[in-house]
Symmetry: C3
Subunit: 349 residues, 3 copies
């Protein structure tokens, strides 16, 4: 009986296959404190029980991205242990608030498979879902990832690539928060008076600050998420690898960019959906992360007047301040760009 987990290879996956992931995880105030220490997030709803209660929550919810990282971490041993590259995310929706004390578990369904032309790898598409201890869905997202084949000669069965919408529709999100009491939303405490109507499509915001990342920090974070991807932790093997260094978990960059975005988006307190995300270039320890955002759309939510949605594209860079808004070019992205993240955030009206 095989005791260690070799991970799944491309030919191990079947369309329709459902994988329940280990290890369930109770989220605690230890996790939220570490999350603050790792990124310095300052959104008032997630920072203060008093603020959260005043605006309508029973108490402060767990940061959306911490939920994402914990659920994502669980999928790694089954989905991406033999990955060559993490290619993208789509249709990510936060469907219920998570509070400390909740226990998160995860499962994934294989929704697409496509062998690459080399015959050595294939792309798998999964719909991963996170649940709380009551079995309620808290998070759902599609990820696709290029995975090695165990054997180049092995035949692959049914293949198909799912249709992915370019963005989540406003009708499909906004269920993870209570009615927000806008009058109780204290702009002095939240750090900004800018609300939904104060932003407009096309607006660009340089988040100004930069944050240097140390090896200890990204490893603490990635272990906190119980993410076991080898490339983040093993300098002895990575020294001989593609980059000669440990690669920082892409989600660490997303959380850094989100924390930096407080400076300009202080009231955009809840990530309701992620339309897509691309890790344009790897980040290594010693790099300093900067970020800027463009508001690309502004939409009301169906039957809600308390909060509205901003569609935001955030670019993060390494060792490049963002006062000139480095983003996409015809050939790809400008030098220094490491992340392009397209998401919907909710903000009081």
């Amino acid at each position: 009986m095989m005791k260690t987990n070799p991970g799944n290879f491309f030919e191990d996956f079947r369309i329709g296959q459902v994988i329940r992931h280990a290890t369930p995880r109770t989220v605690t105030e230890g996790d939220t404190a570490l999350y603050t220490a790792l990124y310095g997030a300052r959104f008032a709803v997630q920072s203060s029980d008093a603020f959260a209660k005043a605006v309508g929550y029973p108490r402060r919810p767990v940061d959306d991205l911490l939920v994402f990282h914990i659920v994502f971490g669980k999928t790694v041993p089954d989905i991406s242990l033999n990955a060559v590259a993490n290619l993208g995310y789509a249709d990510c929706r936060f469907t219920r608030p998570v509070f400390t004390g909740d226990t998160l578990s995860a499962q994934s369904e294989v929704i697409g498979l496509k062998e690459t032309s080399s015959g050595k790898t294939g792309v798998i598409y999964v719909r991963s879902e996170g649940f709380n201890q009551h079995g309620e869905l808290v998070l759902s997202y599609i990820r696709w990832v290029m995975v090695r084949k165990r054997d180049e000669r092995s035949q692959v069965g049914e293949q198909s690539v799912p249709q992915l919408a370019p963005a989540v529709a406003p009708t499909a999100f906004g269920h993870a928060l209570p009615q927000i009491a806008g009058r109780q939303w204290d702009d002095a405490l939240s750090g900004s008076s800018a609300r939904w109507a104060d932003y407009s499509a096309g607006e660009r915001i340089d988040h100004v600050d930069g944050m240097t990342v140390e090896e200890a920090e990204h490893m603490l974070a990635t272990r906190l998420y119980q993410n076991t991807a080898k490339v983040h932790f093993n300098q002895h093997s990575e020294a001989k690898g593609r980059f000669g260094r440990r690669l920082i978990y892409g989600g660490h960059v997303i959380s850094l960019a989100r924390a930096l975005s407080f400076n300009g988006l202080a009231n955009a307190f809840h990530i309701a959906a992620i339309n897509g995300g691309r890790h344009v270039a790897p980040l290594f320890a010693g790099g300093t992360v900067y970020a800027w955002s463009e508001i690309v759309d502004r939409q009301p939510l169906p039957e809600r007047q308390d909060v509205g949605a901003l569609r935001i594209v955030t670019f993060a860079t390494c060792d490049r301040p963002c006062s000139d808004f480095p983003g996409k070019t015809d050939q790809g992205h400008e030098d220094g760009v490491i992340l392009e993240l397209d998401y919907w955030a909710l903000i009081p009206c």
Copy 2:
């Protein structure tokens, strides 16, 4: 509408101005665990619910300096984002115990303004206050800081410098703790049998141990306090700056010195007041912090026989053991000294 926070410049402040700070923060057991991991503090009252209850607390209170750092952190975006130098503290009093679950918020009143002769900067004096979720004052202190002017030519209105007492009087502190049951104070558990009467003015204590600081540690700490001062986090910009390196938050040094002081002051469990503090020299990662203390005064507290006050001046050094008690000289301070902290600690009688 300006979305990002440029911070206030000298000419933005007015005497009497009151600034309510973002972001309120619920203090949790995650924060206290991280505080232990960052400094290794071992004072029994803050470490053990059982010990705290035995001597009269409902449960263990949050470390005084953790409260200070969280309140201080909130003031940074409004008070010192454009600071050139953090000049000093005075009249700092801890007025109520803080327990995990409490939510801290902060405000500052401008109590003094003085343009410097260069015309490029000015010194502002603020009284900063921390409150719990019931609006009760938990901490109050004066800080003065040199801040850049936005425009050298701008005229400055009313100026004045507040009178600062050299020390907090024993009548003004000691309200942040219950009656301490000295008979239940177990010296074996607290780590020392030395109590109030065992210390005398003029006594010098070398705290012996040294603690090396890593970049990841001080950045984790400073983000935990949601302190956004850029100099602590951004190696990309600091490489071109005054020191070529990230500067460690001065409060990190204070907490290290306090934790080291356990070896010699194990029963001095509560900081009741800080008379003054000076960051004599900056600390950078890789430096090893040592500390020694002089007992400069010993006072009873009005109407209390359970605890007494020791006025302690703690000096911290970098890469210099303190067996020869390096401190002040006629010209300033001896080589290697980085901190001089003058405070009142309470200790069972």
Copy 3:
């Protein structure tokens, strides 16, 4: 009155002497979150309240090794502050589960003393015990350590060396866990379907993964345990010492090896006893830790059918993958081996 703790020297110990240690410590969810962040442990019982409840616990217990490290840390200022070498452990038993909110304290009894032939040092044997806030024993172990004499000429009184059993008998452990409901043990969530009967004596398991250690990580861990051994923290003094570098706390290696062992021993959720442990070589920051295990015995527990015991010898290495199972040789251990740990783990039948 001496205020600082110089630690005990060899001639300060007497057989039969009982030392109550400072500082009692309440274990919180902050500690368990940090433990996860430091090692990435994934055992389901300790990770998930929902899983723990399903199988019979009131909620998830604190990781056994976190309990060990906290108790061990308390003994350092009294037992090993003047140690030359930590020589071994024996008869270590976990006797009760610890839950967050419990307060741990510790005491040690001197059970053996033997001066070394040089006359400069001696070996002391202690039985150290950890208790919860109700005074219930949670952990008991023997440690022996070589300690400096204060004065080479000082006479030493009664000497004797205790008889140490090579292993803890299965009748002597297994009291720190409830009846485990094996049918509720969900193998998909726990990460493995391998149970007690699936392992056999002589079986070797390479745990595959490697984990690089940073200075900030081992210092955060060791301070979290309030372990004050100077060699772990002070680069300024260690630069002039035996290794030129800070030495990593041996318990950090044990926890890393245990976390790595999840890959192969996912259901071996509880360490019931440690038969012995040897730190074969020191570990320094920058090293990458790998591990492999041999199942050396498999025993039922008296009057229990829910779980059985596996006696496991885990070897950890530095910068050496374990696919060739590097272990003992006639002369000692193979190159790269840093830890040999012999323990009993419990696993559902």
